[in-house]
Every structure is written in C-alpha cells, then in structure tokens.
C-alpha cells in the first residue's frame, strides 16, 4: 500500500529524464504560479530536512533507483487523507523542475483514501502501535504530524 504512485506515462518520462540527469527526486510544491504541482530535481539538488515527509519511493521500468517523493510536513497535514498519482501532461515550464524543457509537466491527480486504506497506511507508518487501534474515521481530517519521519535525500 502506498500513498503515491506513477502513471505509465509518468514512469516513461522518469526513465527518459533519468538518462539525462541521473537519479531523481520529487518535492511537492504549494503556492502560486507553478505551485500545487510536483517538482522533479536531480536527487539531492533540493535539500529535504526535518520539516519534510517522505510519502513514498516510486519505481518504474528503466529507472534503476527509486525516486523519492517528498512534501513539507505542514502541507502534508492537509493532504494526508488523499492518495496521489503523478501524471504528466503537455505543458510549458514549472519552476526549476527538470521535465519542463521537454514540453511536458508533471501533474498530481488525487483520490480519497478509503478508511480501510488509511488504517493500513497508519499501521505501516506506526509498526510499534497496536494495529488493532483503529483511528480511521478520526484520521480523515487528522492534522497531527505524519508518522513517516524525515530522511535526508
């Protein structure tokens, strides 16, 4: 069970971009202009820290190393009830994200996580917790800090 996944088209683009730039990472942006979209950088170009959450590690054919998907913890507090799919559309530009010169732009599509999925994810995030301690309903609007801790990327 993952919080974030790729469409086939996004996976194919990641393979092409990896050939050009080496291993990659995502950081979800907020705010104006090109915000509310994922930014794709050579891995390590963007320094994540204690204020970021790792949502998942994306894999695709032709992409040798997993592509980590990060988001700031404050933003995640408002996003944690949704499942994200990284897609790609024709586009023009987007901050310093590496796909823009290819005439395309990564895009987030979202769906609500089901209560069952939320329970599963919380159990995976908190292996030390009692898995029978169900908090699914409450977590739909839970603003607590996410349990997936930061890791340097």
């Amino acid at each position: 069970m993952s919080r974030v996944e790729l469409t086939d088209a996004a996976g194919e683009l990641l393979a092409r971009l990896t050939a050009l730039h080496g291993p990659l990472m995502f950081h979800q942006s907020g705010g104006c202009c090109d915000g509310s979209s994922p930014m794709c950088y050579p891995r390590g170009d963007f320094r994540t820290g204690a204020s970021d959450v790792l949502l998942g590690e994306l894999t695709a054919p032709g992409v040798p190393e997993p592509v980590r998907f990060w988001m700031s913890a404050s933003q995640y507090a408002y996003w944690s009830h949704t499942h994200l799919t990284v897609d790609v559309v024709p586009g023009r530009g987007g901050g310093f994200s590496v796909e823009a010169p290819e005439g395309v732009r990564f895009l987030i599509r979202s769906r609500l996580l089901t209560d069952e999925e939320l329970r599963t994810l919380e159990a995976e995030d908190n292996p030390e917790d009692n898995p029978g301690d169900e908090q699914g309903e409450a977590s739909r609007t839970d603003r607590a800090a996410p349990s997936t801790g930061p890791r340097p990327d």
């Binding site: 942006s29 915000g35 599509r109």
Partner: protein
Amino acid sequence: MSRYAAPGTADAVMSYQSRYDHWIGGAYTPPAGGQYFENPSPVNGQPFTEIARGTAADVEAALDAAHAAAPGWAATSAGERALVLNRIADRMEENLERLAVAESWENGKPVRETLAADLPLAVDHFRYFAGAIRAQEGTLSEIDPDTVAYHFHEPLGVVAQIIPWNFPLLMATWKLAPALAAGNAVVLKPAEQTPASIHYWMSLIADLLPPGVINIVNGFGAEAGKPLASSARVAKVAFTGETTTGRLIMQYASENLKPVTLELGGKSPNIFFDDVSAEQDDFLDKALEGFTMFALNQGEVCTCPSRALIQRGHYRDFLDAAVARTEQIVQGNPLDTETMIGAQASNDQLEKILAYLDIGAQEGAKVLTGGARAELDGELAGGYYVRPTILEGANHMRVFQEEIFGPVVAVTGFDDYADAMKIANDTLYGLGAGVWTRDGSTAYRAGRAIQAGRVWTNCYHAYPAHAAFGGYKQSGIGRENHRMMLAHYQQTKNLLVSYSPKKLGFF
C-alpha cells in the same frame, strides 16, 4: 464592443518578432547552445514566436554585461535615474494600447484588464520609484558633539530577478523599478510560459537605458533560472513563484550568503460579515463585485480571493447574489474589450485546475456554478479556458487549502467574528485577505487579527505603488511596492566620523 486584431495580422496595433534572443549588454545575443523553444499564445494554443533557450553560458554573459554596467549606473545621480524611470513610464504610456495587446496575447488575459490595470499600474510604478528615489534621504546621528554617524544608501550591485507568468510586465516592473531606482544593474529571467512581452517592452524603451543595466536571459528554470539563482556573482535574488522553488532559491542563496526576497502565493480569505447585506445599496453591489474578484486574471493572481467566508445570517441571500454576479462574467476572446475572463496561461495550468475540480468533487464540495472547462469554438478552439467556478464546502478540504491558480472560489459559512478569524487563519499562507463590513470597529479588529501581509478592507485587488505588498507565514519573505522596497535593493553604508583632535587615551 471592439476587438483588437491578433498581433502580427493586418490592422494589428503591434506585432511580435518571429524570434527573440537574449538581451545582453544592450544587444540581442543568440543562445550559446544554439537552441530555441516555441512560445504559444494561450488564446488559441498556437506558437507565435520562438525564444532563445538559455543556459549557464548565457547567464554568465549577462552577468558580465551587468557587472560592466553596474558601477556607472550606481554613480549616476538620483535625479538622472529618476529621469530615466520617468521617461520609461512616458514611453509606456505612449504605447499603452500596444503593450496591453501584447500582454493579452502573451498571457491570455483580457485586454480590458491590461488596458485598465496591468499597464497603467506599471506606468505608475516607474513614476512612483522615480519620485521615491529623489525623496529618499540618508540619516545622520550625532553621537556626541565631536562624533557623527552618517548613513548612506548604496546599491547592492548586480541583482537577479525571476519573473512569474501571471502578470509578465507588471511583475517585471515591480522588481525592475525599485532595483533601477536604487542604482542596481539587473539580470532578469522571464517565465518560460510568458517570455515575449518583456522583449516587446524592451524594444520600446531600450534607447533610454545604458547598455547592460537591464539584461534579459530567456529559458527554462532548470537550465537558466538555476545558474542565475545559484550564481555567486549576484548580490541578491528576487523571486515570485511557489514554495518548493522558493526553498530551493533560499538554499542556493545560503551557499553564497546572499539575501532573497520571495513572494510565494497564498489562499486568501475574503470575509463578508452579515451587515454587508443590511442595505440594498452601492456598498452591497461593491461587495458582490469584491466576491467576484476571484475571476480577475482568470484567478491567476497570488492574492486571488480563493476562499470566500460568508456569515450565516446573510449566507444564502449573499451567495445567491454572488452566483448570479459570477454567471454574468463574459468569457471569450481576450482581445475583445467586452471579455471579462480570458484563457489560462498554459495547458498544464488548465490541467491542474481540472484536477482540483476533480478532488473537490470527491471531497464533497458542491459546484454552485461552473465546474468545468469552457469549450470555446472557432478561432479559440485550441485555447485554455475554464468556466468561473464557485465551490461550496468546508475549510479542511484541499480546494480550500491549496492554491488552484484558476477562476475557482471555495465558499463556506461562519458563525461570528471569532469563527471567521479561526477559519481565515487556518491556512499555511498569509499573503492577502479581504474584509467586508459596514462596522469600522469590526473592520479594524479583523484586519489586525488576520495573519496576512495585505488586508483589503471594503475593497479587493487594488495595487497602488505606495502600499506594501508581501506575505506572512509560507507566503514569502520581504515586501514589494512602497518606498520600503528600496531597502531590499540597497546596502546601508555607515560612516562613523570623529571631528575631535584628541586621542582616546588607550595607547
């Protein structure tokens, strides 16, 4: 009704060149990498010019030109620089219609707005900073009868400016006018979505500036923006955009120990207290227009009033009237002077807005009007149009928390003053806000309680040059507009002078 001819066609008031290189050292310079990219108009999705694809080598050439020009420009008198800014303003005013049409074609926004807002505001901005720099004075402190501390304003030198695509000329002006007034040379990168109108502007004013004082490097963020923002040869970076790039620019600046100003957007609440509907009068009419301001510039404004909070006493009546007002918005060809809402600036922007309408529906937000792409036909068939959309829901929904940057407002109710402030401040951002009430005390208290840099009180989307603009919380660092903006482009030089002939006596 009148419609401007598309740039480059017969009867057009202006035309773009078929290609734009980099503007470096007062001349057009081909890209070192030899590559160009197509620039489509959002009006119809068709390319109308091609733009140099800049790389680090082009950025270095622009920095060379800027460093060559900076000492001479810094040495000009405030009066000389003010004269140049005033002449730029005059030239823009003489060509206002041409610039307005150029901007509409580039960005997709209605010419009605560029004629009445973007360009007149830009003209006034140059004039404001022409005046501000002449009125600015240093200070002196008399430490004791023999010792004086003099404080001089000095330019930073060469500054980097990265411009957004929502108001290409006005946002460039917000950054250029104070930087030039303060005596800096500039390397500017326009957004890759809207790189052309700044070149048309430059074609009109190039003779007014010494070569190298403004340099324009085109290109993509990853290829041209990054080497500019990370250069140790710039004294400051100014950026308008979003949070992740903002963090990246701060990260680069930290490597070089350089200052930044960042304007990163918001999710601005527009608050309508019950007493707004106490009378059927001009004020109520104005408040309904204030609600509808979410559609200004297709919602592609950092301060878009994208959350409307309506007190429950007049909630249904006010919202019904707001829906009716929104449905009167005329959507169509941006070059038609009757058109109130034009095209979104790019295809990916359109796709992002549609993705938000989707998650809004999944979370249970109710569509009161709009809610879909506008499929226009004929010559506009390939353009990126969205119907003005009102969603009704609750503040925890993602459509209430994230900047959609489209003509979409999310509406919810509130019980009383305390509830309004709680909802208004329940956001990561704090750039703008609107407060509408007939009660002066409520207006004052709400304005002070909202954690945002600009609280429009009984108005919205006014941008006079001498009102400070900038964000609280994650909306950014620093301010734009107002005389205080000069401080973001100046160093303070302190001369601490002793007029005493007597030694201290330590040695």
